[in-house]
Structure formats: C-alpha cells, structure tokens
C-alpha cells in the first residue's frame, strides 16, 4: 500500500481534521452531488439495470469460485498471444518485477495510465528509488502527483481540489503555465501541453486493467482522456499490473460490465475510450506486453466466505459518491488509496487488521445502505462491514488480557436484556440517575464515554414510566 498513507491516524481522528476543512467540504459536496445526479439519470434510462446488476454479481461469483481455473486459462491465452505473464505474491514483489522489466528496456522514464493497483503497491516510489521517473498522465492523478498530494477518490483522485487550487498548482509546477486561468478547459489544455511530448517520446507504458478475459487473454482499459490510449499504444513495451480478481470468464461477459461500469462510474452511457488488446499485435502497438498478476491479500479476502464478495468490485466508485460519510470526510481519512465504503471493507481485508487505522475502518459507516443500493455488482457492503466489525472485536478480545470498556458494557447490556426483570430494574435505575442530570427532560451533559453524544446533542432522559410499566398498569 502506498507508503504515503502509512501512519495515518484512525478514522475518527482523521475525519475530525477533514471535517474542519471548509474548502474540501464544499468541493466534495458539490462534486459528489453532481456525479450522483448524473449516475441516477443514466441508470434510470435502462429498464434492465437490475438484471444487469444481478448478472454482474453472478459472473463474479462464478469467477471467484473457480478463480484458479480462470487464472490458468488466462495465463495460457495471454502467452499464446505473445504476452508474458508474471505473478506477484505481494506489493513488493510486483514492484520488483516492474522495476526489473523497465530496467531491461534501458529506459529511465515511463508513462502511466491511472491504475488503482499500482497506487496500491506504491509503484511510483519503488521506481523512483531505482532511478526511474514515472509520469502520471490522468489529469487528476497528475494533479495529485504534482502537488505531492494523496488520492482521495477512486475515479477522481483530486476531487478534494477545486479549480483555483489546481490553477495555483499548475502555475507553480508546470513550465509555461504562469498565465493559465482557472477554467477547467484551460487547465486541461495546460495538462495536454505538459504531457504531449512525454507521450510521443515514451518507450515504456504502465497500466492496470479493468478486466481480463480468461477465454481470450484480452485486457481491457476503460478511460476518458485518451491518456490511456497513448500509454497503451505508443510505447514499445507495455506493463500491466492487475489484481487476480479482475478476471472475467468470457468475452461475452464484457457486455454486462461495459454497461455497468461507465454508468456507475462517470455517469455516462459509455466512457469516451475503451481499449482492448490481446497479447501483442504485429504493426500495431507495443512489441512487448507484460502482465503482472497481483495477489496482495486478495487470496485472504477470497478465503472469507462473507468477505469474498468484496472482490466483485470493479472500482467504479459509485459507493463513494452516495456515501454520506465520504461526502463529509473525503477520502484521505480512510488512510488508503481505496477510500469510502469499499475502502472500509477492502483495506482491512487486503492489509489485515494490524493497525489502528485498519481496525477503525469497518466502523466508519452508519450502515445506511446507500452503497449497496448503487453497487453495480451487488456487494452487500453493510453486511461485510458488520462481519469485519465482529472480526475486529474478536481479535481485540483475543489480544487483551482484560476486556475493553466497550466489551464490558456490551456484556452488561446482554445480561440486562437477558431478563425482563433486569431490564425493568435497569430502567428504574436509569430514570433515577437521569433526574440528577436532566433539566426539563433534557440532558445537556452525559458522563464518561457518552459525553461524545452530548458534546453537540441534547439527550432525552429515560422515561419515568417505561412502556412495560404503563402496559402492566393499564392492560392487565
């Protein structure tokens, strides 16, 4: 995982800082609202959307349940078509393979298509260490790279920046951009000028892939700007780093995903450019094609029967755009290149629950279910969140000699709820206690861990006569 995210505080603290960033709050609210509406419109156009979602889910289930079969088939087809397949157990191994492949070409520069997987492995930093410069060519990735910033959204990594901030960045970092204005068209033009010669000179391109077709060995990249086509077509060598879960069984299956992905992602009927290639082609495109297949925690995720569905993800980011938590905290608070609801379930599975940050992520949700509703491959994110919460609680319990205060409270609540008599007694006690702190039925300040509630909210006082008591009095 990108080392830049290492040492991020747990979600609640990181979120507190983000919530205080007025500019970011405004940028995010505007951007997510825009894309939510676009998505809703183009999804609403398709009467068979639910059938597509179901097919998208089922195809992933078929793939994942027989992943070994499909990976072997994929490798065979890619190789037969002139490509070379490499396998990487983890991020470090993937970075080593890519670095070696670049070094073998003798080049010191590479152009990159936006790729979540290489963000995940922290490839750019690894290349830098080896003296290789990687140019991000997607506009938003470029903004992040030039600003030495971190991505905060899967589709639009610079969603937290507005036009004025981007103009300042371009003026500061791009040669010949002193006079650039803040109109997005002008900024995009500046990026075009900046990258043009890099594309035309590039000898090595690095990409991810949205899909890999096992049956044919075909790789698919879905994009908008044409930077993808540049990187996939002009260089002599193409290296694609792809997670093992990106495989789909057949060419026909793309008819489902090429409908689901653009509408869910950019809110378009189809994105401007989709490129598909199978191995290498004489006289068209790179002469060398390397496919690096990454595990990086995916097999651990696969082993969990409830968590497995997380691997359905096609990285559309629809769940981010509808998430009320993400909309307010932004992506950095999740401490990973995968933010939002999908990040909250993906990171603790890919990286494990070894850090405070990763343990905090499953709790960074109200379980409102908006993510599940829009997910094009029907990942029941709330279900996985709750499942991971249980894992975190159990692991924490197993690690400590004494139970956490929360665990003690939960056990006490279980004890109370295990008997109506105890519940009645607890109700009497609570009503009694609240008389001390309540004024006109309103509690402005609660003690202990409950103070988090009353910092900004009044709390009601427990009723003097609980319902069960009233029922006893009136209906018996």
């Amino acid at each position: 995982m990108s080392s830049a995210f290492l040492g991020m505080p747990p979600f609640p603290q990181a979120a507190r800082r983000a919530l205080a960033d007025t500019q970011q709050r405004r940028n995010l609210a505007g951007a997510t609202r825009t894309i939510r509406h676009k998505r809703a419109e183009v999804v609403g156009e398709l009467p068979d959307w639910e059938e597509l979602r179901e097919a998208g889910r089922a195809l992933k289930e078929r793939t994942l349940r027989h992943l070994d079969h499909y990976l072997v088939q994929l490798e065979e087809r890619v190789t037969a078509a002139g490509g070379q397949v490499h396998w990487a157990r983890d991020a470090a191994e993937a970075n080593r393979i890519v670095t070696r492949l670049v070094q073998e070409t003798g080049e010191r520069e590479v152009v990159k298509v936006k790729s979540m997987t290489t963000q995940e492995t922290g490839l750019n930093r690894a290349l830098e260490t080896a003296g290789i410069t990687a140019y991000e060519t997607d506009l938003a990735e470029l903004i992040v790279q030039l600003g030495d910033d971190l991505p905060s959204h899967i589709l639009v990594p610079a969603i937290h920046r507005n036009r004025a901030e981007i103009r300042e960045l371009f003026r500061r970092t791009m040669p010949d951009a002193e006079g650039v204005g803040d109109d997005p068209a002008e900024l995009a033009e500046a990026a075009r000028r900046y990258l043009r010669q890099k594309f035309l000179r590039a000898k090595v391109g690095i990409s991810g892939a949205n899909f890999l077709v096992a049956e044919t060995g075909t790789a698919v990249v879905v994009e908008s700007e044409g930077n993808g086509r540049m990187c996939l077509t002009l260089p002599e060598t193409l290296i694609s780093v792809v997670g093992i879960e990106k495989v789909v069984p057949t060419w026909q299956d793309l008819e489902v995903y090429l409908q689901l992905l653009p509408r869910s992602s950019t809110g378009e009927r189809m994105n401007p450019y989709t490129s598909t290639w199978t191995g290498t082609q004489d006289g068209d495109g790179p002469r060398g094609f390397h496919l690096v297949l990454l595990d990086g925690g995916r097999t651990d995720t696969l082993a969990d029967r409830i968590g497995r569905q997380t691997l359905n993800c096609i990285r559309c980011s629809a769940c981010l755009n509808v998430c009320p938590v993400y909309e307010r905290t932004g992506g950095h608070a999740y401490g990973s290149v995968y933010p939002g609801p999908i990040g909250a379930v993906l990171n603790p599975q890919l990286r494990g629950t070894g850090t405070e940050t990763d343990r905090s992520l499953p709790f960074a949700s109200t379980l409102c279910g908006a993510c599940y509703e829009v997910c094009p491959v029907k990942i029941d994110i709330p279900e996985v969140l709750v499942h991971l919460r249980a894992r975190v609680v159990e692991e924490t319990g197993g690690r400590r000699h004494t139970p956490t205060p929360e665990a003690v409270a939960m056990r006490a609540a279980r004890w109370v709820f295990s008997s109506p008599a105890r519940l009645s007694a607890a109700q009497r006690l609570a009503a009694l206690g609240s008389r001390v702190v309540a004024r006109r039925g309103r509690i402005a300040r609660l003690p202990g861990p409950l103070a988090g509630w009353t910092d900004a909210r009044d709390a009601p006082a427990p009723a003097g006569e609980p319902f069960r008591q009233w029922w006893e009095r009136t209906h018996r």
């Binding site: 609640p12 979120a15 507190r16 919530l19 009320p324 938590v325 307010r328 709790f363 949700s365 109200t366 379980l367 409102c368 279910g369 908006a370 709750v386 919460r389 249980a390 894992r391 975190v392 609680v393 665990a407 939960m410 056990r411 609540a413 279980r414 109370v416 709820f417 295990s418 008997s419 109506p420 519940l423 109700q427 009503a431 609240s434 008389r435 309540a438 006109r440 039925g441 309103r442 402005a444 988090g452 509630w453 009353t454 900004a456 909210r457 009044d458 709390a459 009601p460 006082a461 427990p462 009723a463 003097g464 006569e465 609980p466 319902f467 069960r468 009233w470 029922w471 009136t474 209906h475």
Partner: protein, 272 residues
C-alpha cells in the same frame, strides 16, 4: 389473528409515548395487540457493533417470546430490519440448528407502516394533526425493509396536516447506532446537514419511523433551540381532535415524560 407488539428496548425505556400511541392507534383500528412481557431487545446494538456472540441469547429469547403469534408489529424500522435480516445470521454464528429453525419459523415482523398498509390494509387511520410536518425516511426502513412511500401515504391521509418535503430526505441523518459515539464528529456533521434540511423545509415537526434517528436529530434541534420537535409516526397517526388540545407544544416537552406520565399520555390517547 394474534398480533404481538414488539416495543423495542429503546422505545420501552426512552420513548414510551410512542408505544402508547401504537396501542391507541391499533385499538382504534379494531386491532387487539398483545404485549408479551418476556420481550427485551432484538440485539441490533450488539450485532452492528461486532458483538455477534452476545446477541445469541437475545435472538433466542426473541424467538421464544414471540413463537405462536401470527404477526409481530414493531414501531422501529431498524429493529424490524435486524430481526428480518440478521437473526438468521446470528443463529448461524451460534452454530445452533434449533435456533436457526426457530428463526425460520418465527412469525413475520412488520414495521408499523407496513403493518398498517399491508396487513390492516388501511392508509386513512382517522388521525387529525393540524401542524406543518416533514418526514425523514430512516435508512433501514427505506433500504432494508423497503417501506417505500407507505409512511407518506399514511401521513397524507391525516386531516389538517401540512406535509412538506424534506430536502435530501433519503440521506442518512448520521445516527448509525454506536457510530454516533465512535465517530461523533462525522455523526454530528451529517446531523447538522439534516437539521439544515429540516429548518429549510419550514416544518415545526420532524416525523420518522425510528426514535433512534429522531433522538439524534432531535438532540441537535433541541441543543440549537430551534423549536422544531420530533415525533414518531405512531404519535401523529394516533392523534385525533380529542388529543390535539392537550399535546405538547415545545421541542423539549416530548422528552419531559420523566416522572410525569400524566402529561405524556397526551399523544398516546390514554388507556381505556
């Protein structure tokens, strides 16, 4: 048909007026409900916070208490959703076949608006409530139960009501159970936006089918002294011309039931 009321532990302890309103309403509609005294809690807090093993006895109790009824009605979308969607999972975690069987054969659990519209087949419950009201569809009632516009259909039929639209109604209010404590900053930020929507709507009453969410939003409305009060759907539907004369009129009074049951009876209509 034997119908049981599952009041939920939270309503029982914190919002008994809602329970009284449900009883008043159902009895007015000619439906007799039973309140099995052995009931406690559905286990939602434990389950959603990661203490799945701690809910096993609660799920078992629920099954035992409500076995034999034809239907269970609960004035809470999230508790109804917990029972419908997750009790089976708890039984699975317990690895208890008997419990799984009990969950499978348990009576259907309806959220109040579902019970009224689908089981009793009524949308006009004969209520009278001459106030400007806005409705917040709570997430679990909306997305897990799919109550759709049942609550709104019920509200629209209330005489005297001025029902106004809530901006961004379907966005979560930020309550989220223990999320409200674990991530209180984010929870409050979401709640603040919900409050803005409520204020923009011009409503004097915010209505929903879950008192948990209402406690969160209401806590913010009260802290800010907005004068807007929160009411459970049941309380509005239970109101008639006879009861409106004595109903509470300020935002905080709904919670003043402490030691003053006679006052709080107002929205519930009182015993027969």
């Amino acid at each position: 048909m034997r119908t049981a009321l599952f009041i939920t532990c939270f309503n029982d302890t914190m919002h008994p007026a809602t329970g009284r309103a449900v009883v008043t309403l159902l009895e007015r509609l000619g439906c007799t409900v039973d309140f099995p005294a052995g009931q406690t809690c559905c286990g939602q807090m434990h389950f959603n916070t990661g203490y799945q093993r701690d809910c096993i006895p609660l799920v078992r109790r629920f099954g035992e208490v409500f076995a034999g009824y034809d239907a269970v009605v609960a004035p809470s979308g999230s508790c109804a959703a917990m029972i419908r969607h997750h009790h089976a999972r708890v039984a699975e975690v317990a690895g208890d076949r008997g419990l799984l069987e009990a969950v499978r054969t348990a009576p259907p659990v309806y959220e109040l608006s579902e019970f009224l519209v689908d089981v009793l087949e009524v949308t006009d419950v004969g209520a009278y409530f001459p106030h400007r009201v806005t409705y917040h569809p709570t997430c679990h009632s909306l997305r897990m139960l799919g109550v759709a516009d049942r609550p709104l259909a019920l509200l629209r039929a209330v005489r005297g009501i001025d029902l106004v639209e809530l901006p961004d109604a379907t966005q979560c209010c930020g309550f989220g159970g223990t999320f409200a404590l674990k991530n209180s900053d984010t929870s409050v930020a979401m709640g603040a936006d919900k409050v803005r929507g409520v204020l923009d709507s011009g409503a004097e009453v915010l209505c929903a089918g879950d008192n948990s969410c209402l406690t969160h939003i209401g806590g913010l409305l009260s802290r800010l002294r907005t004068g807007v009060r929160t009411m459970h759907l049941a309380e509005i539907l239970a109101a008639t011309e006879r009861t409106t004369a004595t109903e509470p009129t300020t935002a905080t009074e709904r919670t003043t039931a402490t030691g003053a049951p006679s006052h709080a009876v107002a929205t519930g209509g009182g015993p027969r």
